[in-house]
Assembly symmetry: C2
Homo-oligomer: 215 residues x 2
């Protein structure tokens, strides 16, 4: 059975992994006959956002501990990820990808990438295995790899950032994917568009299907 690593960034769109994108990625993997293992970096979240009001809360939460909620407890520190043990790796989106996995939401293209994330991406590329990135995560892949072809949908400021990082951007709409043949990167916009949950399911399904074809 093919085995896909899924890297989470917390648990909730505004400070962690977008829950629908994460859950529907896991569903797409299972529906297409593969297995998943969730990972997350063992670091504090950049901050905690009250998802009812949008305001910051005076709390500390850990990315791995909160991501464990999506994974029902079955999650491994990202530092233990070994590309040779998996057929592919996928990064769902949500602000957590741009706050906890890298700092793009705060620092734009001058962002820093979490070292475990960078190592996971580079070691997977070295093994010539596919990397999926949903929503805002493709920006992080462009920060790491540079000359990569990705999609984040239609948002002009983010497209400009991708291009300033050395990447090529292709505009897409709901459920569409873009494949970079050089690095085997599969991207889809998800909630970077004003989407409904069934459109997120389509995007995750199309990305996962393509990844499984490639492995």
């Amino acid at each position: 059975m093919k085995k896909i690593a899924v890297v989470l960034a917390g648990n909730g769109v505004y400070d962690g992994s977008e829950i629908h994108e994460a859950t529907l990625t896991l569903l797409a993997i299972a529906r297409n006959g593969a297995q998943y293992q969730c990972f997350a970096p063992d670091v504090d979240q950049a901050h905690v956002v009250n998802h009812l009001t949008g305001e910051e809360m005076p709390e500390k939460r850990n990315v791995l501990v909160e991501a464990a909620r999506i994974a029902r407890g079955n999650i491994t520190p990202l530092s233990e990820y070994k590309a040779k043990d998996f057929d592919a790796i996928i990064f769902p989106g949500g602000f957590g990808a741009a706050k906890n996995l890298c700092t793009f939401a705060f620092d734009g293209i001058d962002c820093k990438v979490n070292p475990d994330v960078e190592k996971a991406v580079r070691s997977t590329v070295a093994e010539k295995k596919p990397i999926g990135a949903l929503c805002i995560s493709p920006v992080m892949i462009a920060k790491i790899l540079g000359d990569v072809k990705v999609t984040i949908g239609q948002d002009e400021a983010t497209i400009q950032a991708v291009e300033n990082l050395g990447g090529t951007h292709e505009k897409t709409t709901h459920g569409q994917i873009v494949v970079d043949e050089k690095y085997n990167i599969i991207t889809t916009p998800c909630y970077m568009l004003n989407a409904t949950i069934d459109q997120i399911a389509d995007g995750a399904e199309n990305a996962v299907k393509k990844i499984l074809e490639m492995v």
Copy 2:
């Protein structure tokens, strides 16, 4: 367009709503051409569980605020639910249903039910509209209504509790539903069985489809 209320109990299987069940209920509603609105009671969680270790954390979290993570901020206090404005109501599972919506996880059949939950269930029954309950939530429906026919899967202790509450239990396996024709209650076991995420999607889909047939 048909409109279904979805009542969340927090965000995470051990102290809130089971995330896959909640997300896949929303997906099933959208996939079948209906709309959803999320609700949750505005109360403190019974406790906070570290989902990595299973241990209690010395924190306070609010059910409505945490459930807003699953709802991407679009959630309403359950006290504002009006049965006349919806075609049906669904309660996904997770320990939150048995800790925050009622206290079954702590008190068994002597549990107390959150007053907003009890009012939501009774007012929906009064309107003769369907109520869906996944996983452990059917026990709460049995606590409120008594002589109801439900399924929680196969777990003998929980089946006994349902029967002690005056209910009738039908054993089911993955994806199967039970329909109570008297009160229009639709139940399915989800993670009360040792299930995979695609089996949860099947259960949510079958329950939602049946509910939409009934309205």
